[in-house]
């Protein structure tokens, strides 16, 4: 199973804070999400490495999608 985690207001865009999805064939993150995110204001980490919405996701990956915050 692929684990998706969404932080901050991006969780509200997706509708959930977490999801587990079975990715039978590797495919782009944006195709898995099926929801549009503000990509220039988002950070994608795949297994703790920087990715993007075009990164290929495989089953078992851990994906975090979070906003570019600015720490006050």
């Amino acid at each position: 199973m692929t684990e998706l985690k969404f932080l901050g207001y991006l969780a509200e865009i997706y509708g959930r804070k977490r999801a587990e999805i079975f990715v039978e064939n590797p495919r782009k993150l944006r195709d898995i999400l099926e929801v549009e995110f503000p990509e220039d204001r988002s950070i994608v980490l795949i297994n703790q490495r920087v990715g993007n919405f075009d990164s290929i996701i495989r089953d078992g990956d851990k994906v975090i999608i979070m906003p570019m915050i600015s720490g006050g």
Binding site: G8, R41, I69, G71, G72
Partner: protein, 604 residues
């Protein structure tokens, strides 16, 4: 040039003299306002003095955007030679005092000397009085605010210190409107050393503006743009507390005196916990994205929380209950103590207790113990006697290697971001112009979104760019950076605002040069006031280099000292400073600071 009154009001508390001076057009152009003015005044007027002596001065400085109908522009900078660090210290505060000072016709208030007895300064337009504050001395900031509002009405701006400032605790701050705070590096202690309890300002005039109609229209448009941002509603719900979950996920949440970057009870304290506990919110004047979230604390009193105080009084001291955090935060606000430094000092004491280095100890997460320490800090007794001058001095008292985990840079406690795995942010703390603080360059998002563990020149350049904008432009305009940094309000608005206010265009090159000039002057001030200067002053504490994270996704990570040093050298090179971080002659001359170079030469 319009856009500021061009006027300083100076109050000498030793002889009661009040004078008013013009700010030259050259200074207004070169330093803009706020922090720029404060740095210039301190450089010119406060040299080689004990920060708590009558020779020090405290400066309340606004900028050309302060008090105008523009997003989040109710701010001023409070600056002085810091008793906590011995260098340049400042903080910005959102307060009606900023708005009223401008309406009264002043850009800057300088307070110097020392009153023989407790006093406060009351300004109403042209009239400036020094009044008796003996009945206020010993009162909390909330009580003093109530008392002064009863005397002067509610339509005034008030800045006040609490018992911590009166007793010159090193990290005493200045409070306004029952919870707005500023001046982490002991600005409250400087007021206390002058027997100055408060400042009350009322201004009834109009702030001069070059093109009023244009400014009003652009201001309206700005407010509209902010409200329309996609994360605006979420911001209104959580404010800066949205950072909490984010930091925990990214292993940069300060935990147990910055030993770790994740806290296992984080869900009890995060922005969603705040939403459940929230009873009200408040903010600064002229702001439509108020960030003050008020909860009912564990003693059934209101406490205004934000990320920094929850981070430092929560996980950093092992406190896992938001309402208990609220109690400590409210006590700090009432007494006039900086919550970041307080959280660091408490964490230091807890670790020292755990290691058996101090006799009467305090355990992680001990609410009653914390309350007692806070009260004792203000009275300088018990464990408070160890920490009342901050963690740097506390570690000198405790010794036994505690210097390695006294979490400060240049004597100012680190704010709520762990940097075991954030080299860029560590550099930001290392080179912040007031000691370890995040306001000048918060670079963690950028470094995670690029290459978190790199020590590249590009990362160093990003730190410098943020310092130029956040630490130079925003601190000097003087307006809040949060619309830009938190909801992505267009940065392009600010040069337009400045042009409408002053009638003069300002280019990006001039903006960057302004930031560089202010940084070089503040750096020169540190060097002049600290004769034993070396590049080690720009290092973060040893803990981040020596002890790796033991929990979370990034366990095993720590900073690399040699690579940090490489980044620091790159930083100096970009800034035109030498290998010890001292601005070079040609750098100062290129920034129009040739006279500073001469003084530095004399000190060599």
């Amino acid at each position: 040039m319009k856009g500021d009154a061009g006027k300083i009001v100076r109050v000498n508390l030793s002889d009661g003299k009040v004078s008013k001076e013009e700010i030259s057009e050259e200074v207004r152009k070169k330093f803009l306002g706020g922090r720029g003015f404060a740095a210039k005044i301190l450089w010119d007027e406060v040299s080689s003095v004990d920060p708590l002596s009558d020779g020090n001065k405290i400066i309340f400085s606004t900028g050309p955007l302060t008090g105008l109908p523009l997003p989040s522009s109710g701010k001023m900078v409070i600056a002085s030679k810091s008793p906590l660090t011995g260098g340049y210290g400042d903080g910005n505060i959102g307060s009606m005092a900023a708005v009223h000072l401008r309406r009264a016709g002043y850009d800057v208030l300088i307070v110097e000397g020392r009153s023989e007895r407790p006093c406060y300064i009351a300004i109403q337009d042209e009239e400036v009085k020094i009044l008796d504050a003996r009945d206020l001395w010993g009162r909390t900031t909330f009580e003093a605010q109530d008392n002064l509002e009863a005397k002067h009405g509610r339509n005034v701006g008030i800045l006040v210190i609490g018992p911590a400032g009166e007793n010159m605790v090193g990290f005493a701050n200045v409070i306004s409107q029952r919870g707005r705070a500023a001046g982490r590096p002991g600005m409250g202690a400087v007021m206390g050393s002058k027997n100055l309890k408060a400042i009350v300002v009322k201004g009834t005039g109009k702030i001069p503006v070059f093109d009023e109609e244009e400014l009003r229209e652009m201001g309206k448009e700005g407010y509209r743009e902010i409200k329309g941002k996609e994360n605006y509603d979420f911001w209104i719900r959580q404010g800066t507390m949205l950072v909490f979950e984010w930091c925990n996920e990214n292993s940069c949440l300060p935990t147990n005196n910055f030993r770790e970057g994740t806290f296992r009870f984080s869900k009890r304290l995060d922005g969603y916990a705040l939403e459940k506990a929230k009873v009200d919110r408040k903010g600064c004047p002229l702001c439509n994205m108020q960030c003050g979230n008020i909860i009912n604390d564990a003693e059934n009193k209101n406490s205004e929380l934000d990320y920094e105080n929850v981070g430092m009084l929560g996980p950093n001291i092992g406190m896992d209950d938001l309402r208990k955090v609220g109690v400590l935060n409210r006590m700090a606000d009432e007494l006039g103590l900086d919550t970041i430094s307080l959280g660091s000092c408490l964490g230091f004491l807890m670790e020292a207790s755990e290691k058996g280095l101090i006799d009467a100890g305090i355990a992680w997460g001990d609410l009653d113990g914390c309350k007692e320490v806070i009260e004792h800090t203000v009275k300088k007794k018990g464990l408070g006697e160890i920490i009342f001058e901050g963690v740097r001095r506390a570690s000198e008292r405790v010794a036994s290697g505690s210097e390695d985990w006294a979490m400060h840079v240049k004597g100012l406690e680190i704010s709520a971001y762990d940097c075991h795995a954030c080299p860029g942010m560590a550099l930001s703390y290392g080179t912040s112009p007031i000691g370890a603080h995040h306001k000048d360059a918060w670079v963690i998002s950028w470094e995670i979104s690029t290459d978190r563990f790199s020590h590249s020149k590009e990362k160093v350049e990003k730190v410098v760019e943020l310092q130029r904008l956040r630490g130079g432009l925003f601190e000097s305009m003087t307006t809040c950076r949060l619309p830009w940094v938190e909801v992505d309000f267009g940065l392009h608005w600010y040069p337009k605002y400045l042009q409408a206010v002053r009638g003069q265009e300002i280019s990006q090159e001039e903006i960057f040069k302004l930031g560089d000039r202010i940084y070089a002057l503040i750096r020169s001030y540190w060097i002049r006031e600290n004769r034993s200067w070396s590049r080690e002053m720009d290092y973060p504490p040893s803990r981040w280099f020596e002890e790796a994270l033991s929990q979370g996704d990034l366990r095993g990570y720590k900073l690399d000292r040699a690579r940090y040093d490489e980044m620091l050298s790159m930083y100096y090179e970009i800034r035109g400073w030498d290998e010890n971080g001292i601005p070079q002659k040609e750098t100062l001359e290129g920034l129009g600071l040739g006279d500073v170079e001469l003084v530095l030469g004399k000190n060599d």
